[in-house]
């Protein structure tokens, strides 16, 4: 940027301090560009105010005379100026109107030397010579000179131009002659002076004489002392003068006072606005700082006005104090707000300990809140209860009550999480002296105890509420309580830690209890949808339902109670706890076994049904609703085995993998096994009894007699019926529980054999034909059931055969022939028994 050029100045002259507008070019682009402003050689940078690149406003300095205006900018350097400013010092006389009061001391001399003009050295009149020739031009023409006669730099030309620019040449010539005469007279001495002025001297003598005569005359008429009159005149003059100036002086005094008052008013404006500010209660901080300022400035003032205002202010401040105190004691209030109030109170010299008061208020508030919350929910719960009229509504009401409790616990926790940190922080501020109060170190313990009390009260209430039962909501509540721990991270919270521990334990217990409860209810969940499992036969959903239930509960536990939060202790450190948990676990399994047991119970109606079905076997197994008892028992047996072998070990593993006390499930496993055996026995019994029961009636159907004579043509229907019935059982077991086939069928066969032997032993007389027939029947049965014939059964069969009278060769042949025929005929029917080994 080019150097600045000043081309305009407004105004172009003035006393020091004149506000001048400087115009020109390249005067910088912002305030900070200007690094120098000099007017008449005086540095005026401080007052310079940048307006635009063409305009700066500044105040002139004390420089006197004409001078350049030089602006220096950061980028343009030192500039030049085409215009000039003239500084002058204003001399103000007592009669001149002036905008500022000029101290009299300075103006002694009454209008400076300028007004008392010496006689003109040229002896010319000074008519109309008031600076008619512009001083600026003179300065330009005669730089460094002036027109002051007494000055070293006196310039005659200046003087003439200044004082006699209007005098005619003749006048000036006369003046020169006069001056010369004067100079000459000085040089010639007194005598020549007298000589040259004889006429004048004579004239003077004459005048003196006349004067003496006049004086004599005066003495005659007025007496000797003539000063009297003069004194009087002077006195009068003085009075006159006084009167004349009295006004001015009074005016000045008044102006002074007004100015003073204005100054004071202005300077202490805040004091007078303070009462209204307080009235408005806009900003306490501002009011308080003004108040303390006022206290400092006027606290010991003797000025009535200030005193009055201050009293008013003090009254108002007292009101404020009262109000602030009220506010301090009003809850809820934000921490910052409270701190501010406390600080304000301290600043207002509140009697007492506002910090501690704030703390107490807060503590009490927390206690109140806790209890209010508790009683609110107590009422709520109480209002839920009486409504319960019917039984099914009861559980609903129960749940509603639990929900209420959970909400209550949540609210209690919230109160603590939100309010305690604030309280603690307030305490810290108090004890660290941050609240600018004097604090009582002894109160530290009291404070800690107070906080502890709040926590304890909260724990007490929570325990009380929780003690009434939360069932499934324990994990929820545990989470809520744990959240408090997080909120109180920086505050001693052992109490809460203990509460968390309590909740964890309760949580574990309750979940296990609930699981046991739910296990019991699995009975209703059984849908009898049969699922075929190649190794375990036909099972139902029950085992997996149970497993899922169990696993779900465990994962809830894992997510809640078993998860170790920071600082939380091991749950099962004490043995009592361990065994209690184990008991709960066993209860679950017992319930499961119970459940299986219940499901396999015989229903009387169905029992009779199953008997009839024996005669007409229908295989409607897949229809779950109409599933008959045998199918159900078989499913239960399979379930038992499946549970034993698959799900229970898996559950044990899951349990032990969780952070739970190790669990030994051998007892439930063996219980399951024995249930399985019991059910199997039951099944066999139920299957065999009707089967065996029909043998005798069938054998003697149609008045059949063993002693009668007839020609045996083949195996009799009763034997076929036996085989068919065993086939039915076989088919059922094979379908449902392949692995049970052996056990069931051998048992059945044994019973059948026993029955046959009993029946044979009971026959007293047997014809030859009867013998042939009996041998054929029993051998056929034995042959058919050979696969499942145990030694015991074989013995029975032998017993039966032994009971038959011995056969001759002929008869034996007949038997063999018929048997061969029978075997051929029955081959297909008997195939299922052969498939035994395949399954």
């Amino acid at each position: 940027m080019p150097p600045p050029v000043v081309t305009g100045i407004s105004p172009k002259e003035g006393p020091p301090g004149t506000r001048v507008t400087i115009r020109g070019e390249f005067l910088g682009n912002k305030q900070s560009d200007i690094i120098g402003v000099s007017i008449c050689g005086c540095d005026c940078l401080l007052s310079a105010e940048w307006k635009s690149p063409n305009k700066i406003i500044a105040r002139s300095g004390p420089g006197k005379g004409r001078g350049d205006i030089i602006i220096t900018t950061l980028t343009g350097g030192t500039g030049t100026s085409t215009v000039q400013f003239r500084g002058y010092h204003e001399a103000v006389g007592p009669l001149k109107e002036s905008a500022v009061w000029v101290e009299e001391v300075q103006s002694i001399g009454w209008g400076s030397t300028k007004s008392i003009q010496l006689d003109d050295p040229l002896g010319l009149s000074l008519e109309a010579n008031e600076n008619k020739f512009p001083e600026d031009d003179l300065q330009e023409m005669f730089p460094g000179c002036n027109g002051d006669l007494s000055s070293e730099n006196f310039s005659p030309c200046w003087f003439l131009l200044q004082n006699h620019s209007n005098s005619s040449f003749d006048d000036l010539r006369a003046g020169l002659a006069f001056l010369r005469r004067k100079v000459d007279s000085h040089q010639e001495g007194q005598l020549s002076f007298l000589k040259g002025n004889v006429s004048a001297v004579m004239e003077q003598l004459e005048v003196l004489e006349a004067l003496q005569v006049a004086f004599q005359k005066d003495v005659e008429s007025f007496g000797l002392d003539r000063t009297e009159k003069i004194v009087e005149a002077i006195k009068e003059c003085r009075n006159e003068g006084k009167m004349l100036f009295d006004g001015v002086l009074k005016g000045r005094e008044k102006a002074d006072r007004t100015r003073n008052a204005l100054g004071v008013l202005h300077r202490f404006k805040f004091l007078f606005t303070l009462p209204t500010a307080i009235q408005r209660k806009s900003d306490y901080d501002a009011i308080i700082s003004d108040y303390s300022r006022a206290q400092n400035l006027f606290g010991k003032t003797e000025v009535k006005l200030f005193k009055d205002v201050l009293t008013e202010v003090r009254l108002k401040v007292a009101e404020i104090k009262e109000e602030l105190k009220k506010k301090l004691h009003t809850m809820p209030s934000s921490l910052d707000n409270q701190k501010k109030i406390i600080r304000n109170l301290v600043q207002l010299e509140y009697e007492g300990d506002p910090g501690w008061e704030g703390i107490t208020v807060r503590m009490n508030f927390i206690m109140e809140q806790l209890n209010a919350c508790h009683s609110f929910y107590s009422e709520q719960i109480a209002s839920v209860k009486p409504k319960s009229g019917k039984r099914d509504k009861n559980s609903q009401d129960k749940q509603a009550a639990i929900n209420c409790r959970v909400e209550c616990i949540e609210d209690l926790c919230d109160i603590i999480s939100i309010l305690i940190p604030d309280l603690w922080s307030l305490g810290q501020s108090y004890f660290s002296g941050e609240l600018s109060t004097k604090f009582d170190q002894n109160k530290l313990d009291e404070f800690k105890a107070g906080v502890e009390n709040c926590l304890k009260e909260m724990c007490r209430l929570v325990r009380e509420v929780a003690g009434k039962g939360l069932t499934g909501s324990w994990p929820n509540c545990l989470q809520v309580v744990r959240a408090v721990l997080v909120a109180l991270k920086h505050i001693p919270h052992d109490t809460i830690l203990a509460l968390v521990q309590f909740f964890r334990i309760e949580c574990v217990k309750n979940i296990l209890l609930t699981t046991a409860e739910q296990t019991k209810r699995l009975v209703d969940k059984e849908d009898w949808v049969l699922i075929h499992d190649s190794t375990h036969g036909t099972i139902t959903h029950l085992p997996s339902l149970f497993e899922k239930l169990f696993n779900d509960s465990l994962s809830i536990l894992k997510e809640s109670a078993l998860k170790l939060g920071p600082k939380e202790a091991e749950l099962f450190s004490n043995p009592a706890m361990k065994s209690e948990v184990n008991e709960h676990a066993h209860a679950i399994f017992n319930n499961y076994i119970q459940c299986l047991d219940t499901l396999s119970d015989i229903n009387d109606d169905e029992q009779s049904m199953s008997v009839s079905q024996l005669a007409f076997p229908t295989f409607r197994t897949s229809l779950s609703h109409t599933l008959n008892w045998e199918d159900r028992v078989l499913a239960c047996i399979s379930n038992c085995r499946y549970s034993c072998e698959v799900t229970v070990p898996r559950m044990e593993k899951t349990w032990n993998e969780a952070e739970l006390p190790s669990l030994d499930l051998s007892k439930p496993t063996s219980d399951l096994r024995s249930l399985k055996s019991r059910l199997t026995a039951c099944y066999i019994e139920n299957r065999t009894d009707p089967l065996v029961g029909t043998v005798e009636p069938s054998m003697y159907i149609g008045q059949f007699e063993w002693e009668a004579d007839f020609t045996p043509v083949g195996v009799r229907p009763y034997a076929n019926e036996i085989i068919a019935n065993v086939l039915v059982v076989h088919a059922q077991v094979e379908r449902r529980c392949g692995w049970l086939k052996e056990e069931v069928l051998t048992e059945v066969v044994e019973t059948v054999a026993e029955e046959l032997s009993r029946l044979m032993l009971c026959v007293s007389h047997m014809s030859r034909a009867g013998a042939i027939q009996a041998t054929l029947d029993i051998t056929a049965v034995e042959h058919a059931l050979a696969k499942y014939t145990t030694t015991q059964a074989r013995n029975f069969f032998s017993e039966a055969l032994d009971a038959i009278p011995a056969l001759d060769e002929e008869s034996k042949k007949t038997v063999d022939k018929l048997l061969a025929e029978y075997k051929k005929k029955m081959y297909m029917q008997l195939l299922p028994f052969e498939a035994k080994s395949n399954s």
């Binding site: 305009g8 100045i9 407004s10 507008t21 115009r23 085409t82 215009v83 008619k132 512009p134």
Partner: protein, 201 residues
Amino acid sequence: MSKKPAPQPALHKVIMVGSGGVGKSALTLQFMYDEFVEDYEPTKADSYRKKVVLDGEEVQIDILDTAGQEDYAAIRDNYFRSGEGFLCVFSITEEESFQATQDFREQILRVKNDENIPFLLVGNKGDLDEKRKVTLAEAQGRAQDWGVPYVETSAKTRENVDKVFFDLMREIRSRKMEDNKMSNGRGKDRCKRKKLKCTIL
């Protein structure tokens, strides 16, 4: 300034006269800095000087912007004395300011003691035609009486602003050339002044 070795370009001293508020400062600032000042701030005595090119010749114009206010009338004489040309401004929207030009004219003539002093009668605020109080004919009539040009300007729209300053400078320049010739005929002017002075006394 005395340090500058190069010959200074000719300096023409222009003085703005007229009642307060007619737009003297506005005209000056418009001419000097191309800016229009909206607010009215009474002037005491402002000084401006810059180089301009007058008909191909570089010259300096020195503008003295004076107060129109009566309070300062006493010091006006002093300022007028140094002026070489005058822009006597009135506002066409204010009758009184037009009347006042008469007094200014007389005062200038008294101080300068020269009937032919370069002088322009300027009717400012031409943009406010709807508020016009002084007719063109009136103003032209007065200018004719005085034997000076009359120009209407607007400090706001800059209309004729350059014109009045340049026209005045041209007159000053030709007056100076005339004077130079005259000075050979030995201070005729001075005699004239003296004579006038005597009549006042």
